[in-house]
Every structure is written in C-alpha cells, then in structure tokens.
Symmetry: C2
C-alpha cells in the first residue's frame, strides 16, 4: 500500500472535499462556496487529490467538474479489510510473547 492516498486524505480540507464529491461531482467554485474556502486553495487541494489519483476532471466550458475516482477507494477498502484476517493470530502472537518472553 502506498502512503500517497493517506497523505492526500490527511489534510482536513481535502477530506471534506472528498466527502463533498462523494455526493456528486462539483465545480471548483461549488466546493469553495460549500466549504467556505478560497478558490485558489480549493484548486490546489483538488490538484493534490488529482495527483494522488483520487479525483478526475471533466471540463465543461470554463468550468472544471471534479469527481471521485472509484479505484483508490476500492483499494483502500481491500487494504483495510485485509487486516481482519490477522486479529486472532495477533492475540496468539502476543501470548507467545508473554510466555516465551
């Protein structure tokens, strides 16, 4: 798993943007208005999200509509899910540490 996606989501404003775009695709100004952020910062954040592969752009006239990209979120879900297979084993290992120590 690459840390890039986590880095992109680590910034509170960016996380809010993602949760906004989850509902529906939006233009830069729409995001700025809804989150009460300045347009340049929103552009920068969306750029970061795009570089991380979390969003894509669809130009419409002068507007640029940003929408989420499914794939990274699927990867994220799979990654988080893969941890479930280890919890039992973890407890066993801890007991080993406690006994063998």
């Amino acid at each position: 798993m690459d840390a890039t996606i986590f880095n992109a989501l680590a910034e509170p404003s960016r996380l809010k943007i993602v949760e906004l775009l989850r509902v529906q695709p939006r233009s830069v100004n729409e995001v700025a208005l809804l989150l009460k952020l300045r347009q340049p910062q929103v552009s920068k954040h969306l750029h970061t999200l795009a570089e991380a592969g979390l969003v894509t752009v669809q130009p419409i006239a002068q507007q640029r509509i940003y929408m989420l990209q499914p794939e990274p979120f699927v990867r994220l879900e799979d990654w988080a899910n893969s941890f479930q297979h280890y919890w039992d084993q973890q407890l066993d290992s801890l007991e080993n540490h406690l006994k063998k120590g």
Copy 2:
C-alpha cells in the same frame, strides 16, 4: 471521518510499521531492526500511532510490545465501503452537469 487516522498512515515509515504489526505484535527494537530505522524514531512513530488509536502497548519486563487495534481499521473499511453506493449516482450527476450546464 476524522483525518487523524489518515495523518498517522501518511508517513511512509509509519505505514510500514503498521504493515509489520499486522503480521504480529512486536517490540520497538524488533520493528527498528526489521525496518532498519533508529530506535528513537520508531518510538516516536509508535507514539504517534498510539495517539491516533491505531496501536496499543503491552509492557513485558523492559520491553513494550505494540500491537494493532482493530477498531480504526474497521472504521476505515466501512468508510471506504460507503463510497461504493455513490458511483452510479455520480455518473448521473455528471450527465446533469453536462446537459444543464
């Protein structure tokens, strides 16, 4: 969703630590040796992970065994999973943008 968990996982070394601890709980030195990091940095990273609620500590003599905490990963999986319900709707909304402009 809180950005704290993403922030904790955004640092490459910390992400590696998490993926190590996924296999089994480990002491600070074990992590340091396996990842070829210095002990103080590992302690710091583990402290950050603990503050984010991703790991817990189990002291054994002088050693401190760190292990993952399931709950945050379950939350993360649920969050990522919740995005799946929106993709179809997203495409519809984009089309609306394209038509209505």
